[in-house]
C-alpha cells in the first residue's frame, strides 16, 4: 500500500439546480496513477477544480501530505505541489511557448534560463518543443506538450490530467503513457480523468468512478472488465447501436481535390481532399483536433465557398453555393460547436429551428416567417429525439449539452437530408444520448442518405462508419473499409507519432 498523498473527505458542491459533487471521498497515494472515471456531467471537472483551487467546496475537506489543504486559488494549489493539464482553455495563442509556460509557474526563472529548462525537460521526456514558437501555430498534440512541460517544470507531487488523450493519435497515447509511468515511478501521483475504459485499464492502478456527483465505486481497473466499468459509470444498460447491412447506392456527395484556406488566423488549410460518399453509406473521418475538421465541415456546409466543381452533390457542382442553396437542395450539416455555431445560445429552440429549417421545411412565405409552423416543427424534433426541455420557447443555452446536441442533430435529421455532414456529433454528450444520436445517423443512412461523420472519437467511428479516413494537417488519408482495421493502422493514418519520442529517463 502506498503512503497517502491526497485525502478527500466528503466534498460537496452544489450549483443552482444541480448537485455537482455530493459527499465525495477517496484518496490518492504517492506515485499512484489514479483514474477518475465518469460520464459527461458526472462531476469530474468540478471535483478537480476544487483540488486545483478554482472552485471552493460547500462542505468537506482535503488533506495533502497529512496537513489540511484548502487552496484559495490555483496559485496556492501550485505552491502546494498540485499541477494540472487542462483539456481546454489554458493556453494563450498569441504568446510564445516560453511565455505560456511562465504564466503557469509561480516563480518562473529569467527568460533565458526558462528557455533552457524547457529544452531540457522536453528532451528528457521525449516531448520536443521550441520555446520561442507562438502557441497559435502549434498542433493540438504540441499544445498539450506545452501544458505538460509547464507542469513538469514545477516538479509537482500531484499531476491532474483532464482527458489528455482526446487530442492524440494512438501512437502518441502510447508514448504519453510511458512518460506518465516514468513520472509515477519517480514518485509523482497522477489523477487521470477519462471516460475511455481501455486506457484506464492499461494505465491506472486505482479508479474512482463518479456517477451523478457521487462516488459509486473505487476499484482496481486492471481486475475489472471494461463492461463492468461501463455499467458502473453509466448506471443502467442501454441498447447497443444496431446497423443493418445494406448495399451502397449511387454517389451522392463527391469532393474533388478540395483545397481551401482557413478563415481563422490559427486554423488549418484543407489540402487536396478527395472522397465520395454513396447513398446508404456512412463515411467516418477521424483525426486529432485542429487538423482541418472545422474547415472541412465549413467547406461542405457552404460557409467556406470554393470552386464549384470541388464539391459535387448528386452530380451537380455546389462548391460555389452558400449554405442556404445547399440546404434547400438537401445537403445538410451540423457543426461541432453547439453554442454559438450550430445554435444561437440566447434564442429559443423555435428560433433555432428557423435557423436552418426555414426554407426546406416551408416555414416562410416570401420571406415572412410562419412561427406556428416553426413551433410545430420544433415540437416534432423535441419529441422524436427525446430532447428534455420545458418547451420550444426555451433558450438554447438552458439545455444541457446532451439535450442540445440531440436537438441540433434532430433538427437536421428531421429535414430528411439527402446528404448529412456532422462534426463531433456526440462530443461531451452522455452515453445514452450518444447512442441515440448514433442510431439516428445509422437509421438515416439506412433510408438512403449519404452520411459523413467527422469525429475525434475513434470508437464512435468504428461503431457507425462503413469506411474510414483520417485528416492530418489538412490532408485526407486513404479511405479504407472499417472492417478489419487495426488500431495500429488507424494511428498511422492519423499521422502516427508525429515527432514524439519515448521518454529518455530511466525509471
Amino acid at each position: 500500500m502506498r503512503e497517502t498523498l491526497l485525502e478527500i473527505k466528503g466534498l460537496t458542491k452544489a450549483y443552482p439546480g444541480v448537485i455537482a459533487n455530493s459527499d465525495v471521498s477517496f484518496s490518492i497515494g504517492r506515485g499512484e496513477v489514479h483514474a477518475l472515471l465518469g460520464e459527461n456531467g458526472a462531476g469530474k471537472s468540478t471535483l478537480v477544480k476544487m483540488i486545483y483551487g478554482l472552485v471552493k467546496p460547500d462542505s468537506g475537506s482535503m488533506r495533502l501530505n497529512g496537513s489540511a489543504f484548502a487552496p484559495q486559488d490555483p496559485h496556492a494549489a501550485r505552491a502546494s505541489g498540485v499541477a494540472m493539464v487542462f483539456q481546454h482553455f489554458s493556453l494563450f495563442e498569441a504568446l510564445s511557448v516560453a511565455e505560456n509556460v511562465a504564466l503557469g509557474m509561480e516563480n518562473p526563472p529569467k527568460p533565458r534560463d526558462l528557455a533552457r529548462q524547457i529544452r531540457e525537460v522536453s528532451e528528457t521526456y521525449g516531448l520536443p518543443l521550441d520555446p520561442d514558437r507562438t502557441v497559435g501555430g502549434l498542433s493540438a498534440g504540441e499544445r498539450q506538450r506545452v501544458e505538460i512541460i509547464r507542469c513538469l517544470l514545477q516538479e509537482p507531487k500531484l499531476l491532474i490530467m483532464d482527458e489528455p488523450t482526446s487530442v492524440l493519435t494512438p501512437q502518441e497515447v502510447e508514448i504519453l503513457f510511458q512518460t506518465l509511468r516514468k513520472l509515477s515511478a519517480e514518485g509523482t501521483a497522477i489523477l487521470y480523468i477519462s471516460h475511455k475504459l481501455e486506457e484506464i485499464r492499461s494505465l491506472c492502478e486505482t479508479a474512482t468512478i463518479l456517477r451523478l456527483g457521487k462516488v459509486v465505486e473505487t476499484c482496481d481497473p486492471r481486475d475489472t472488465t471494461a463492461r463492468q466499468l461501463a455499467e458502473l459509470m453509466v448506471g443502467a444498460s442501454f441498447d447497443a447501436v444496431t446497423r443493418e447491412a445494406r448495399a451502397p447506392g449511387a454517389v451522392r456527395l463527391a469532393v474533388h481535390n478540395l483545397s481551401a484556406r482557413s478563415p481563422n488566423a490559427f486554423g488549418t488549410a484543407l489540402k487536396d481532399v478527395s472522397f465520395e460518399v454513396r447513398a446508404g453509406e456512412v463515411l467516418g473521418i477521424g483525426g486529432v483536433a485542429g487538423n482541418g475538421q472545422d474547415e472541412l465541415l465549413a467547406a461542405l456546409s457552404g460557409e467556406i465557398v470554393t470552386r464549384p466543381e470541388m464539391v459535387e452533390f448528386d452530380g451537380t457542382p455546389v462548391g460555389g453555393q452558400g449554405p442556404e442553396a445547399r440546404r434547400t437542395a438537401g445537403l445538410l450539416s451540423a457543426p461541432e460547436e453547439r453554442l454559438g455555431h450550430a445554435a444561437a445560445p440566447d434564442m429559443s429552440l423555435t428560433e433555432n429551428a428557423i435557423l436552418t429549417a426555414a426554407a426546406r421545411e416551408g416555414l416562410m412565405k416570401n420571406g415572412f416567417l410562419d412561427w406556428s409552423g416553426a413551433r410545430g416543427f420544433t415540437e416534432k424534433v423535441i419529441k422524436a429525439f427525446d430532447v428534455r426541455t420545458p418547451g420550444p420557447g426555451t433558450a438554447a443555452r438552458a439545455l444541457s449539452g446532451g439535450n442540445l446536441q440531440k436537438f441540433v442533430i434532430g433538427r437536421e435529421v428531421m429535414q430528411r437530408p439527402e446528404v448529412l455532414v456532422v462534426n463531433q456529433p456526440t462530443w461531451g454528450v452522455d452515453a445514452a444520448a450518444a447512442a441515440a444520436i448514433r442510431q439516428a445517423l445509422l437509421h438515416l443512412a439506412g433510408e438512403g442518405a449519404a452520411v459523413v461523420v467527422i469525429s475525434q472519437d475513434l470508437d464512435e467511428l468504428m461503431e457507425v462508419a462503413d469506411r474510414f479516413a483520417a485528416l492530418n494537417e489538412g490532408r485526407l488519408s486513404d479511405i479504407r473499409p472499417v472492417q478489419g482495421l487495426t488500431v495500429e493502422q488507424i494511428g498511422l493514418m492519423m499521422g502516427g507519432a508525429h515527432d514524439m519520442e519515448v521518454a529518455h529517463v530511466e525509471a
Binding site: P16, D73, E303, P323, E324, H341, P345, D346, M347, L369
Partner: protein, 361 residues
C-alpha cells in the same frame, strides 16, 4: 458575499422593469445633483417630468413640442437599433442627420420658388439618400477593408459638421439674407415646408415617418427572415454564417437603413422645426438617439416610449432652465446618467444575484 448567477434564459420581467428602474435611479441621483447645485430637487424633477404635460400655464405650449422632439429621436433610434441588434455600431447618426438635411434642403432650395406638391416628397427622398450615402461610407469600408465602423462613422460627424459650416455660409446661403449665414427659411416656402399634419399637435410629417418606421421595424424584426438574420448576426455571428447570412450584406443594409432614417430626420427638422440650414441647426439628436435606442431595449415599441420620455427631458429641461435657472448642461448629464443606469441594471435580465459562498473570481 454576493455574486451573479447566469439565468438559464433572459428574464422577460426584468427586460421590461430595467428601463423603469433606470429612470427612478436617475431621478434619485439627478435629484441629489440638483440639490448640490442649490436647486430644490423635488421641484426640479417635477418641472422636468410633470410640468411639460400638466402645468396649467406652459403645458399648452410644451405638449405639442413632445412630438416635435420625439419624432427625430424615434426615427433615428429605430434605424440605429436595427444595426445595434446586428452588432453594427453606427454612432455617427449625427453626421448622417446633417448630411440628409443638407442634401434634402439643397433639393428644396434648387426648386425655389416652384410651387408644386412634388417638391416636399423629393426633398424627403433626397434627405434619405444623403443620409444613406453618408452611412454607406463606413459600411463599404467595413465590408471591403474591415475598417471599424464605430470610428469611421464618428469621424464623419466632424466632417459633416465642417461641411455644414461651409454650406450654411456658402453654397446654401440665403441670397436675400443680407449677408447673414444660413439658408432660406422653409417656413416661408410652402411647397418645401414640413407642416403639421394635424394643426396644434406638433405632429409634422417627420412624426408620421417615425410611427411608420416603428411599425416597419416591428414587422421586420419579428416576422421577416431578414430581421431574424439581423438578430442572429448580433446574437451569434458564427451561427448566422452557418445559417447562410452574408455578413457584408447585413452591414450594408443596417448602415444604409440607419443612415437613410437619420437623413430623413435631418430633412424633416430643417424643413420644419429648425426652418433653415444654419451652422448649428443640429441639436445632437443623433447622439441622444443612441440613448433612446438602448433605453427602448432596441425594441421598436420600447423606442417609441423611450423617445417620448427623452423628448420630455428636453422640454422639461428647457422649462427648468427657465423657471429654476438649472444649467442646460445638467440635462445632458441627466440623459447620460439614464443610459448608464440602464446599462447597470440590465445585468438582472441575464443574471440574478445570489448571496453566499461563491467562486473565486
Amino acid at each position: 458575499m454576493i455574486h451573479l448567477v447566469k439565468r438559464p434564459q433572459p428574464s422577460r420581467v426584468w427586460t421590461a422593469v430595467t428601463p423603469l428602474l433606470a429612470v427612478v435611479l436617475t431621478m434619485i441621483v439627478g435629484g441629489i445633483m440638483f440639490a448640490a447645485l442649490g436647486k430644490p430637487p423635488l421641484e426640479a424633477i417635477r418641472t422636468i417630468f410633470w410640468d411639460p404635460l400638466f402645468h396649467p400655464q406652459f403645458a399648452a405650449y410644451s405638449r405639442p413640442q413632445l412630438l416635435v422632439k420625439a419624432g427625430p429621436l424615434i426615427l433615428i433610434a429605430i434605424g440605429l437599433s436595427i444595426g445595434f441588434r446586428a452588432g453594427i455600431w453606427n454612432i455617427g447618426a449625427e453626421g448622417q442627420y446633417i448630411m440628409g438635411a443638407i442634401t434634402g434642403a439643397a433639393v428644396g432650395l434648387a426648386f425655389y420658388p416652384l410651387d408644386s406638391f412634388i417638391v416636399f416628397p423629393l426633398m424627403v427622398i433626397a434627405g434619405a439618400l444623403g443620409g444613406w450615402a453618408w452611412g454607406m461610407i463606413p459600411a463599404l469600408l467595413k465590408v471591403k477593408f474591415g475598417t471599424n465602423e464605430i470610428l469611421v462613422s464618428l469621424m464623419l460627424v466632424y466632417v459633416a459638421e465642417a461641411w455644414l459650416a461651409s454650406v450654411s455660409s456658402g453654397l446654401l446661403k440665403n441670397p436675400e439674407g443680407r449677408g447673414f449665414p444660413g439658408s432660406r427659411n422653409f417656413q416661408q416656402y410652402d411647397a418645401g415646408a414640413n407642416t403639421e399634419v394635424i394643426a396644434g399637435t406638433g405632429m409634422h410629417w417627420g412624426v408620421v415617418a417615425a410611427f411608420v418606421a416603428v411599425i416597419f421595424a416591428y414587422v421586420l424584426l419579428t416576422r421577416h427572415i431578414r430581421g431574424f438574420h439581423i438578430r442572429l448576426t448580433g446574437e451569434a455571428p458564427r451561427a448566422a454564417r452557418f445559417a447562410g447570412v452574408n455578413p457584408g450584406r447585413v452591414v450594408i443594409f443596417c448602415l444604409g437603413l440607419s443612415g437613410a432614417l437619420a437623413g430623413m430626420a435631418g430633412l424633416f427638422e430643417v424643413s420644419g422645426p429648425a426652418g433653415q440650414i444654419t451652422i448649428d441647426f443640429n441639436s445632437g439628436y443623433g447622439f441622444t438617439a443612441i440613448i433612446v435606442a438602448f433605453l427602448g431595449r432596441l425594441h421598436p415599441v420600447g423606442i417609441l416610449l423611450a423617445g417620448l420620455l427623452m423628448a420630455l427631458t428636453y422640454i422639461g429641461g428647457e422649462l427648468a432652465q427657465l423657471m429654476l435657472g438649472l444649467p442646460g448642461a445638467s440635462i445632458q448629464l441627466f440623459q447620460g446618467m439614464l443610459l448608464f443606469f440602464l446599462l447597470a441594471t440590465d445585468v438582472f435580465t441575464n443574471y440574478r444575484l445570489q448571496f453566499g459562498q461563491g467562486e473565486t473570481a
